[in-house]
Symmetry: C2
Subunit: 248 residues, 2 copies
Amino acid sequence: MTGELRVIPLRGIPELDEGDDLAALLVDAAVRSGGFEQNDVLVVAQKAVSKVEGRVVDLSEIEPSPEALELAADQDPRRTEVILRESREILRTRAPLVIAETRHGFVCASAGVDASNAKGPDTLVLLPLDPDASARRLRDQVREAAGIDLGVIVSDSFGRAWRRGTTDVALGVSGTAAILDLTGERDSKGYTLHATEIAVADEIAGAAQLVMGKTDGIPAAIVRGLSPAAGDGRGSDLVMPRERDLFR
Amino acid sequence: MTGELRVIPLRGIPELDEGDDLAALLVDAAVRSGGFEQNDVLVVAQKAVSKVEGRVVDLSEIEPSPEALELAADQDPRRTEVILRESREILRTRAPLVIAETRHGFVCASAGVDASNAKGPDTLVLLPLDPDASARRLRDQVREAAGIDLGVIVSDSFGRAWRRGTTDVALGVSGTAAILDLTGERDSKGYTLHATEIAVADEIAGAAQLVMGKTDGIPAAIVRGLSPAAGDGRGSDLVMPRERDLFR
């Protein structure tokens, strides 16, 4: 993975609805940008994937539980109720901030529940039920439509402990590496590298974010030039197992 | 920031020693890759910067304290002593892993103290004393040598809470944004984005890591195509202030 990398935004993808053929829209957008190439990794924003999968909630249909009413403080308790339903465990709260572990094991703000860029102020977008399956499905559909086997990453913006700001990370992965394991490899001086695991899929997601922006309606990007020996990892590989986690 | 991004590895930089003219070596390497361009961001691995700044320690000169002897378990207590000296606070330990807050406020494994790729098994490389000053100095030296004002990021590989693997982050920043603050901006549907801060310098560092690798002796990369309105942040901006931190 020592060649030059290109990160190409995919433009002209319209506002999405449940059931839309996202793969076809991505292929069309890629064609307008010169087409896919072998070993490309396609990064797609979680929100685009969630919308076509119908992972949206209408707040008018939500009845907040007593727990949600208590936790919500001056926020909309229906939104808090949705967050609680998406959570396996609440790690920290400082209103309006809720840091939760999702049912997938991701630790993030609001259990990944997001309002911005949605259908309206009363519509929330949830994370996909199984982001790895979403990535796999998009990969299959793009291969069907365009005859090329890409890597696919479903990305989202997560905050971090100890550092300000969000970076995009990989929730779902198919056809590309999630983690590059250098344990046992030797560095340029001949020393063995101890337990060096690089979260390459998170770095790829972050690189894609730099061209996708938040406000521009660009829900996807191509990352070109990664090593063809990139592998086939899973987004779930990037979740630290609870028993190894020093911070849960 | 919606154009195409290019990430270009800088090759042919030799093993570095204290006092080496890193800026001149980077400019030479850039010339071999077609030269710098306006608005390029130059990402340089912390280890390269630390070596030329003489931030290396010879273990044979270290006398471990009783605390280091106790914490070291079956590791070299002299190495543990160096980690303790670089730390403001030890957050977690699970031998051989030590998660520490450095004197700069960074939270990372071994307080950033690293052996691999160093001069020999008895030589450790420490983080720069002031990574923002290191970035600023490199930026000044490159402008002096090549007549172009770049952004500069000094990067290192950090682990994260809750997620496996490391991603590269920005320790020092000069001449480019650290955080892109979208608070108050509107998304493509017209909704205000609440408190959206993107750690762009960390994402840029991560993108550069994808071409730098760990084992290839490529200590720097150019990231080209970022918005010219990128700003002038600091690596210290990326450290979550202790009073706002939910995880310290």
